[in-house]
């Protein structure tokens, strides 16, 4: 329940407003929240969905032998990540307990079983804003981003 609705009900209980007035106010609050939700949905729909996760490693400009330098270029489809995350549902319960305990030992209080399909979608959507850009001591560049 929103704060506004709570206030209206408190005013009604205190006898400051009539039931009709409270109803009108509640309708007005509902209309306002509905409009806000609609705007939020339109904003999220217009956001371009990420298709690939990219990991690149390129040598620095000052590399002695650029032709034989280490290079990595990986492109993973988001659909594959989504399918991979669903694999957690296939992990036997005993193994999940072990994974949860290992996470807890590292200070991460998180239950893998709590991951729901809607959470995965939210997680993947959030990846769209992620960008990791690291430059090593020898000039090599590591980039992790979505496109």
């Amino acid at each position: 329940m929103s704060e506004n609705k709570k206030k209206i009900l408190e005013m009604l209980a205190a006898g400051k407003i009539s039931a009709e007035e409270a109803l009108k106010l509640l309708n007005a609050v509902d209309a306002g929240e509905g409009a806000q939700e609609k705007t939020r949905r339109v904003e999220s729909d217009t956001k371009v969905k990420p298709k690939y996760l990219r990991v690149t490693v390129t040598p620095g400009e000052g590399h002695v032998d650029p032709e034989h330098a280490d290079r990595v270029n990986v492109r993973v489809p988001m659909s594959l990540i989504r399918a991979g995350l669903k694999l957690t549902s296939l992990i036997p319960p005993d193994a999940l307990d072990k994974a949860n305990n290992a996470l807890r030992e590292k200070g991460i209080n998180f239950d893998v079983r709590n991951i729901k399909p809607e959470d995965l979608e939210e997680l993947i959507a959030a990846l769209g804003d992620m960008e990791v850009d690291i430059e090593g001591g020898r000039g090599e560049k590591v980039k992790v981003f979505v496109e």
Binding site: K51, R71, R82, A83, L87, L90
Partner: protein
Amino acid sequence: MNWPPMLMHVKIQNEKTRFGLWLPLFLLLPLALVVLIILSPLILIAIIILWACGYGRWVWWALRCLKVAIVSSWAIRGLRVDVQGHNGVVQVSVI
């Protein structure tokens, strides 16, 4: 609509070996489907027997694994791995 992967290219190259393979997945997928259809009566019988013997949980788990495997193989289209080191090159791409 998501299309299944059509071709897979694997290339491994180092000082001694030079290996490249184009795998026509568009030919393998119908073949796998035909094999699945042929084996489906046997699979069904195995499922019924295992279920009756009290291994229903494992049958359910195997079916879910199969589903995830199919979904994953469908989603692999667009994957590209290109690793180049001073000793060699490994490239995998799914088209």
